[in-house]
């Protein structure tokens, strides 16, 4: 192919591109919609449930303080520490629950796979920034809170290209 026709071809393709809609997620205003409520794990079948691997959620009424999540994290990020809580649960004799340091966590979700009591799940919350390192350490009380975020942008494909609708 000659030089001129190559340039014309490239220009033609570029001009066609002018008619295509913008494919940019305007992030703080728009947020991507995810599948489900975050990554979960079913210990009976041994298979996870698809979802975003975001911030964890701890169910205090199910946690037994068995430390399996902490042991799973030992070889990975060492982000989980077991701390004492001021709550009395009959399944949790030692009253210890995981505390997660998101400065270390790599969001692999293997702690969720390790939990046999449906106590630790992951949620769609990924906005975890903080002004201090201490602010990234989430105590069991903070992990109990269900995140409330509006995420509705999805990739839509039309004749004029893909957009985040």
């Amino acid at each position: 192919m000659g030089t001129a026709s190559g340039i014309i071809k490239a220009l033609n393709s570029g001009i066609k591109h002018l008619a295509i809609k913008r494919f940019t997620l305007r992030y703080p205003e728009q947020k991507l919609k995810f599948v489900g409520d975050g990554y979960q794990f079913d210990p009976v079948s041994g298979v996870g449930i698809a979802g975003l691997k975001g911030r964890h959620m701890l169910f205090h009424d199910k946690c037994t303080g068995c430390q399996l999540c902490s042991i799973a994290c030992e070889g990975i990020a060492e982000a989980i520490a077991m701390v004492k809580v001021d709550e009395k649960w009959k399944q949790n004799k030692k009253s210890i629950m995981p505390q997660i340091d998101y400065g270390k966590c790599v969001f692999c979700g293997l702690c969720v796979d390790a939990c046999p009591f449906y106590a630790l799940y992951m949620t769609n919350d990924y906005e975890l920034s903080s002004f201090s390192k201490e602010g990234l350490i989430y105590t069991p009380a903070q992990l109990q809170v269900k995140p409330n975020i509006k995420q509705d942008a999805e990739i839509k494909i039309s004749d004029r290209g893909a957009t985040h609708g």
Binding site: N12, G36, V47, G48, G51, I76, A77, L110, I157, A162
Partner: protein
């Protein structure tokens, strides 16, 4: 005194030839990881070149000896976070062999889909940097934008945009979400339409052609002798793709072909990954047709699985060529030795060979066309 120095260290002798100049290119971070190339130039022409990797060496092989077969997963994918499914693939295949696990049929198809999506994600990132290396900023923006389509799919599938930690010995972590097939098919069709336009904007661009055609030519017998792999090998006219030659999982059921170009120059090396992406789209569509509609995707393992005194060498075709893992077990929960043999490291030996006699200005075009990923080569 000098003879007492260990062989790892050399005292540089003052050269008597003043014409030759030594130039350190790097260690900068061109979007991929630090890498230094020491070139000796005579005027504009490169006399010799000495690649100096190791700036991002983090000892993955040593780390793997201290962790058990499951907790090795998140750190073993770190060398190539864009291609994390493919680097975990040989590890999972190897561990499955030494533990004697049979993977469910549906999991094999899900693995193929995930690894092909990942190959495209890696190739787009690589192509974007190749564009910006050659001053073609449109080619940086388009792949970086289109990558979002596939990142979105992988995020729906595995729950993370990069570093998926999705493959485990015994299958995959979770099943596909409910409407994934439709979404995947729609986005892959659109994606294929998009990347076909790269031909007009990039590959038939006369400026790119004049910069890459006939620069850094790797002849066929040299490609064999240097042991190059992946797109570098296939651009030199050797039809070698492990997905065809040694089909793992369900690649022998799927309908695709390998792309081979004869010329062996930078242009061919930059075109092969793009042709592979078009082929990947075909594989994904084919796999979505043939996937069993239901079934388990993961075999339950014991908490700390142990293997006997066995060893295995498994290899897969990653985005950068053959990726092998040599796993030796000695009956403990941790592997005795894990050796990662990566395509980037094997292709690195071509760089001094290709750059000899080349103009300095052509160095980025040759260097990045080797499909080299510094972090993966250093491990």
């Amino acid at each position: 005194m000098i003879s007492k120095l260990p062989p790892g260290i050399k005292v540089e002798q003052k050269g008597d030839n003043d014409k030759i100049m030594t130039l350190n290119v790097g260690p900068q971070h061109p979007g991929s990881g630090h890498m230094r190339i020491i070139v000796k130039i005579d005027g504009d022409y490169i006399v010799s070149c000495d690649p100096d990797p190791g700036y991002v060496h983090r000892g993955e092989e040593k780390m793997a000896e201290y962790r058990n077969y499951i907790t090795n997963i998140p750190h073993l994918e770190r060398p190539v976070i864009h291609d994390s499914c493919n680097i975990l693939y040989p590890y999972c295949l190897g561990v499955e062999e030494i533990l004697g696990i049979e993977v469910p049929e549906r999991a094999k198809y899900v693995r193929v889909i995930a690894s092909e999506l990942n190959r495209c994600v890696y190739t787009l990132y690589w192509l974007a940097i190749y564009g910006i290396f050659l001053g073609h900023s449109t080619m940086f923006m388009w792949p970086a934008g289109d990558r979002e389509l596939l990142i979105d799919l992988l995020e729906k599938l595995s729950g993370a945009r990069v570093t998926h930690a999705y493959f485990v010995p015994g299958g995959v972590r979770n099943d596909m979400p409910s409407n994934f097939e439709d979404v995947c098919l729609r986005q892959i069709n659109y994606f294929e339409k998009r990347i076909k336009q790269y031909d007009s904007i990039f590959y038939s661009n006369p400026i790119l052609k004049s910069r890459t055609i006939n620069t850094g030519v790797l002849r066929q017998n040299d490609a064999i002798r240097l042991g190059s792999t992946g797109s570098v090998l296939r651009a030199s006219g050797i039809d070698f793709d492990l997905r065809k030659k040694e089909p793992y999982d369900v690649y022998d059921n799927l309908d695709f072909q390998t792309n081979v170009l004869k010329s062996g120059d930078s242009y061919a090396r930059s075109k092969i990954p793009w042709l592979d992406m078009l082929e990947s789209c075909k594989i994904i569509r084919n796999a979505l047709e043939k996937i069993p509609k239901s079934g388990s995707v993961r075999v339950k393992l014991k908490p700390n699985p142990k293997a006997g005194n066995v060893e295995t060498y498994k290899r897969v075709e990653s985005g950068r060529g053959s990726l092998g893992m040599y796993i030796i077990s000695n009956g403990k929960p941790e592997p005795y030795r894990v050796k990662i043999s990566v395509g980037s490291f094997r292709n690195l030996i071509c760089l001094p060979y290709l750059l000899k006699g080349e103009k300095l200005g052509n160095m980025p075009a040759v260097y990045w066309s080797l499909n080299y990923w510094p972090v993966e080569a250093d491990r």
